[in-house]
Symmetry: C2
Subunit: 331 residues, 2 copies
């Protein structure tokens, strides 16, 4: 089994903590470890392949164990292409476990059981996706409607009313972005449903040089490849998909509100990364990235307070999806 | 007439903007001028004497016009001593206009009329204080109960109920900390009511050297002097006091709430010193002392947000008296 960690994504939703130079997966948010490192440690892989943007080569190499293989893309072309590069980089019978680099999983026992289950399906030539049991009517994720391990349908991000109906129905799962299949299974299916992506990726891959288990793919070549998600290019079209429901205390940490949920709180309900001095301060998320600077507060509650070298962000808890608007306003 | 500007006071209530190194009077809060500079410019003095802590010598010299005289104290001994030094530094018949360096006065026409009125009383050998008509039941100031220009009594900082009764009565004024009298009048009265302060100050003053209109008073000498306010040492005891009611749009800028009141607001009620990027942000005071850093906000209202090199302060508007508690917690 080969673990493939995808390190794409710019993580604008955690700006200013997450930046293009240092995206979310490289932040030490929990246990003084990066989410990338936690992903590596969570998986006792036979082998590890990391697919990353070329601009993060230094940081990701430093965090990776010896014997890691790397594919560096000078520009990202979304998950369909990245995963196909992983498959092309593998033996046909290799079972690939495809993982985002920036998610949190707290129930390792269940996680390992899910991986074992997925491996069985993968050996049986299936494309396996992992479904997170919906906890609330989230509108930010795609959903998988299932009957046991069989997929009935994939659903795009729903509106709130639709999300509520999914939650009520009980057989809808959040699409976690984790997958498992044999390399040859994925290649066969993408040839069928996205032949253009297959052809272009194969050309780009065959042109590349592999030195010391490091492959760099050039921007000028990559730009010929259609940028598409694995969900849209393959999973939603294939009849050969299984879903493994995964009760693994998962979070994609996709917003400051979800960060607040995951952090430990003090007796006043504050989730605080770094020392601070406060009077009557309740239920706030406070993250300070400048150790020599002090954050002090009085008579506030339900605020998100983020300080980095570049910027200070202050907003209302529960509204952290607006960070993206702030980010776009700045650009 | 000789203007005497008192630059004492550490201004902990505007921490972290105001610090021991750079107290409130030297901050460029309005019109890109320091409050000290505004005080100098407001008074078209015949001569100017500045009394400052020795540690601020460089900053206050740079801000003062040519021909300014200085008395530098290595340690502050409160206003009774400082004003006596000013009197000892003057001719007996000089009329002294004693002014704090860190207040805001917006009605200059009325201000000048008040000064003229005070001068008349001073020539008639009176100690003159300036009373600000109480605007709200403030518990942070002393009050002067008056009958026209005659003082009935001085009142210590009242509790809220008492302050409300003062406001209702109509003949109670806030004690502004501005005074006017002849040098000889003040010396005569302080000899009478605080002879120990007079004796010690005289000794210290006579030991000092006056070079280029600059006098430095040594800490070891100053420590022999009782630290007392002019109000307590002289004004409250003398029968020779007049009050000039001053309708001059005065603020002592003694808190972030009073700063907010004085600043111009944008269309959302925000008082903002520096650029910022916001979504749905209302009635906030936002001061950013780091020009290269951006403050961004969403879905907040009624907050005080202060950023300096040393610290970030975030609190609720209307509660800014708590800054002093924060400051004490840090020390």
């Amino acid at each position: 089994m080969k673990t493939v960690i995808l390190c794409g994504g710019s993580g604008t939703r955690l700006w200013p903590l997450s930046t293009n130079e240092k995206p979310k997966q490289y932040l030490n948010l929990f246990d003084n470890q990066s989410l990338f490192t936690k992903t590596v440690l969570r998986n006792k892989q036979d082998s590890l392949l990391v697919i990353s943007n070329k601009s993060h080569q230094k940081i990701v190499e430093d965090l990776s164990p010896n014997e890691t293989s790397f594919i560096f893309e000078e520009i990202g072309r979304n998950t369909a292409a990245a995963i196909l590069f992983a498959a092309l980089n593998s033996r046909p019978e290799d079972i690939l476990l495809i993982l985002p680099s920036d998610h949190l999983i707290n129930n390792i026992e269940n996680y390992n059981a899910c991986i074992d289950k997925a491996k069985e399906f993968a050996l049986d030539d299936k494309l396996v996706t992992f479904g997170i049991k919906a906890q609330h009517p989230e509108t930010g994720y795609g959903y998988i409607e299932s009957n046991g391990n069989d997929v009935i349908s994939f659903k795009e991000k729903p509106d709130f009313e639709t999300a509520k109906s999914y939650l009520k129905a009980g057989n809808f799962y959040w699409n976690s972005g984790m997958f498992c299949f044999k390399a040859e299974t994925f290649i066969r299916e993408i040839k069928l449903f996205a032949p253009d992506i297959y052809e272009e990726c194969l050309k780009v891959y065959n042109k590349s040089e592999n030195t010391d288990q490091k492959i760099t793919l050039k921007k000028s070549d990559l730009l010929n490849i259609r940028s598409e998600s694995i969900d849209y290019a393959v999973m939603e079209k294939s009849k050969n998909v299984k879903v493994v429901p995964a009760d693994i205390e998962w979070s994609d940490l996709g917003s400051y509100d979800s960060l607040y949920d995951q952090f430990n709180k003090d007796q006043n309900g504050n989730a605080v990364l770094s020392e601070f001095i406060s009077l009557d301060t309740k239920n706030c998320l406070i993250i300070n990235d400048e150790k020599e600077k002090m954050i002090t507060t009085f008579d506030i509650e339900d605020l998100i307070i983020i300080n980095t070298e570049d910027a200070i962000l202050i907003g209302k808890r529960g509204q952290s999806q607006r960070v993206k608007e702030i980010y776009n306003k700045i650009k």
